[in-house]
Subunit: 242 residues, 2 copies
Amino acid sequence: MPKSKYDKIYHSLKTKIETGEYAFQELLPSENQLILTYDCSRNTIRRAVSALVTDGYVQTMQGKGIRNIFQPALQTSFTMGGIESFKESAMRNNQVPRTEVLCFTEINADPKIASRTGFAIGTDLYYIQRLHYLNEKALILNHNYFLKDIAANLTPEIAQNSIYEYLEQTLHVSIVTSKRVMTVEKMTEIDEKYLHLGNYNCLAVVSSQTYNSDGIMFEYTQSRHRPDYFRFQDNAVRKTIR
Amino acid sequence: MPKSKYDKIYHSLKTKIETGEYAFQELLPSENQLILTYDCSRNTIRRAVSALVTDGYVQTMQGKGIRNIFQPALQTSFTMGGIESFKESAMRNNQVPRTEVLCFTEINADPKIASRTGFAIGTDLYYIQRLHYLNEKALILNHNYFLKDIAANLTPEIAQNSIYEYLEQTLHVSIVTSKRVMTVEKMTEIDEKYLHLGNYNCLAVVSSQTYNSDGIMFEYTQSRHRPDYFRFQDNAVRKTIR
DNA sequence: GCCGATTTGTCCGTATGTATC
DNA sequence: CGATACATACGGACAAATCGG
């Protein structure tokens, strides 16, 4: 897989930070030194560093340098800022994923579904209900709606493994952006049946609309998470007030 | 307040998108056209556009152009991807904020507090408990811990208005990055007392560590949100798998 | 299917501004 | 004040993807 130059530098620096090559609060080599190390232009270094800033790994300070603010204990989290499939998240955390397909149907978007998902009325969709286990504990109940035109020939077998893997590797659909909204909702009977929430009466709900590289929204998903295992992590950057 | 060139272009394009000057799914002018419009270099345009991409406003497609994917209905949310004070969020949504200071004390970080907040043991802190109202409804119960050295001479009066305003405008502390973790927790008696959760038995909790431009973590805050009014919005960009 | 025009993606070099020490 | 560091901005070159003829 060909990586771009700035991406290689980004990963190289990221690894060095994660393995503790730079101590917490220590300054990284200056841009000029990094230019020599990686034999590249200043723009390329700046691009790699700016990606680390968005990841919350480092902080740049004009006139001072680039400070490492990575704390390993905090950066381990299941749900992250990026777009990841359940399988990928599990693997990143070295855990064993399993997916059970509860329901696999083809439906047509009626007005109610259309308004909830954002698809146009009358659109042909796959509606899939899946239960995701981690280390044999049911954690997430997923309701997926996929555009039939884009996610062609989806099967329960694919849904049991990884739909994203199929979309990207077989259909060459490139997933680009995803708009997500997180809320807390009262549990329903279905939630209780599959997730066994104990004495919690609500759960964490992540709704997302995902776009492919043609700008088409091809997926709407509602993920209902067990509250005691839900943890969403985020790094925010302050925009100066004007 | 002086704005940089790319920031002006960013805001100009953002406004045009929000006011519907470009239709949903329509292509924006190409980079070369934008260069002529704003009389600048290509890098400057690219920087402005890339900020719009992170905001989930547009999508860039190699060989095609820049597509507007802004949907007004979705972009209105109280809690957002950036760092915002309660007062700023309220004003952005044209609502009336009010803050009640429940408790204002100075404490010294014992081992328990230190491990929860991430401050070193023995650090001098302000501990503030505040209740935030929107349109006279109690929505958020905040537990703030501020480093006494940085947030010097904080008073209950300041806490009732806006601590961030004081930090930035009076003390010239620049707020840079914030690491946040979102979870769902069981409610406590204090939550129930102030937030009146009805028949919900849990709430949305956002814990954050905020750093200033010297790389010092000067704030730890736990925000406990009424679940029925909590809504966190986010735009994610897929990183290609390697 | 090919070719050329258009458009975004990557990369380089340079100059100047601004903050820190 | 000068040296160092990051921030902004410009210009140019080539690659890769898309689209129309």
